[in-house]
Symmetry: C2
């Protein structure tokens, strides 16, 4: 390996994280700036360039010390052109030539991919994926994204939609309406918001004693974290919700396994904080719906990097 370094950038709607890493994946420096989405997001790229240049000066480094910069971003990415479209939470209304501008502004080679793909690269390289060639990340957040790495390469598909595991349909009959316009997508029942929706619906039909039902009947807000905390404490309704959500997840991940037979399917995102309690239930359903060779060789595990996965994976982009 070379002594040169990597820069990872994880661009989000509120903050933009940066890190300088060795080519072995060790983080040497880390910082973050606020994302300024004013004026149609026109400050974002100049702010990124300025922040990189400032920190290089601070650390007494020059462009030739780096293999490259990799960045994860919301929106649709044209990885060849290095452009981003449809990143609404950045206020970007037109196609952004991020590669052209950041290469010109820093003098360092630049690659970009979407944030879910970068997080998958990060978890695979330095996290739960153990650097195996075939790893899938399924991050359970407000929505559900996904990134698929097979034979050491991120899959993008013909129009960039490979890995959109949140829109795999798990409830083909009378499923909930999804933000994508379809019904019954995994995201509608297993994202943080989906879990709350499942809980609300199940509470309506539930008759027994339950703190979760009480909270909902009082008109108080609940969160997916609260559902899992109550389930762990033995709340019967919350347990039923956890079981239903785990069924949907296990079913979807099993078919992902049956189709791709990766070494690891990594569950990440905020919901994965429910930990082994969630994992065990998902694994039970995964085992039920996979055929033998996949059941024996594909493992469902929890993410280990938390929200540094994005910046680490972005740096990895620069290496590949």
């Amino acid at each position: 390996m070379t002594d040169k370094k990597l820069i990872g950038v994880d661009l989000g709607g509120t903050t933009c994280k940066f890190a300088i890493l060795t080519t072995e994946g060790e983080i040497q420096q880390k910082w973050a700036i606020d994302t300024n989405i004013l004026d149609e997001g026109s400050h974002i790229v100049p702010d990124i360039i300025a922040s990189i240049n400032e920190h290089l000066a601070l650390y007494n480094m020059k462009p030739s010390d780096f293999v490259g910069i990799g960045m994860g971003t919301p929106g649709s990415v044209d990885i060849k052109e290095g452009t981003v479209t449809g990143a609404y939470n950045l206020n970007w209304k037109t196609k952004q030539p991020v590669k052209r501008d950041i290469e010109a502004g820093t003098g360092i080679a630049f690659s970009v991919d979407n944030d879910a793909n970068c997080a998958a690269l990060g978890e695979r390289w330095q996290g739960a994926g153990q650097n195996e060639p075939n790893v899938i990340l399924v991050p359970l957040g407000t929505g559900i994204g996904g990134g698929i790495i097979m034979d050491n390469k991120l899959l993008h598909g013909t129009a960039g939609s490979a890995g959109e595991i949140g829109h795999v349909v798990v409830e083909p009959h009378n499923g909930y309406l999804c933000t994508c316009g379809n019904h019954g997508c995994l995201e509608t029942v297993a994202s943080a918001t989906g879990i709350v929706r499942v809980a609300r619906d199940m509470a309506e039909e539930y008759a027994g004693d339950s703190k979760l039902k009480e909270t909902l009947d009082n008109g108080d807000d609940i969160s997916s974290k609260m559902v899992f905390d109550l389930a762990k404490a033995g709340d019967k309704l919350a347990l039923a919700v956890a079981d239903k959500v785990s069924y949907y997840l296990g079913f979807a991940l099993a078919n992902l396994g049956n189709t791709l037979n990766p070494e690891y399917i990594v569950i990440g995102g905020g919901v994965s904080a429910a930990g082994d309690f969630l994992l065990k239930r998902v694994q039970k359903n995964f085992e039920k719906y996979t055929f033998k060779n996949v059941r024996d060789t594909t493992k469902v595990v929890l993410a280990t990097l938390g929200n540094t996965a994005g910046v680490i994976g972005a740096a990895r982009l620069a290496l590949d």
Copy 2:
């Protein structure tokens, strides 16, 4: 491209097909021999070697005229080692070192993969896949196999089970028992045998007029071809069976599209002879269960090569 040629071998339980192709994929010679599975299949590899050497002499060609030999085979393939295990319809009870033996016997470089993967390579290269980088073949035969090509490469997964689309579960509750030991696999309802099973079950509950029901009630055998022929002729029960099978196929292929966003999903195998009648119904369900970007960019089409896909794809193995 080189002037050198490719040899494709499509090894099956009853015949073994051979072809000599240009590196552009044009078939120049074609022949076949019977597969002799006696004596634990010990004649198979020697017969293949002898047949190749005979035909090379016949056409006045020598080993150095070839880039290589590629072969598709039943069973589990270790593509690196070039060995085959578990090919029960060839009567092979132990691991077969096909690469070692065929290279030694012919003096030509040899590659091997499973038959479904080779058929996928063939349909992608010279058939319905239009040589696009992202193509999936779903062959509907007695069983359902599958081959997935992403970014111009066959996917194998961590233990060779990538592409086993027949074992994607489409009926998670009370599905039929599959040969794999699971319930509700796509193969149980959309393979040639699965379609007959769906027809039998639906006939039991069907009350109206139907030639299909009459045939079944008489205890006569039916085939998936008969179901589709009767459906095309307006038989109400047969139409209901065709709709149900098309739902399962469309649902499974939609989730394949949502996960991988290939350019083409190619329906092949004997059942695909039902043609546009089947295709249109599958597409309708595919459109229902895919999200917009996949619906707009992933196309479900019929295979065009028939059973030469295997030998063409095997030859392609030698090129890659």
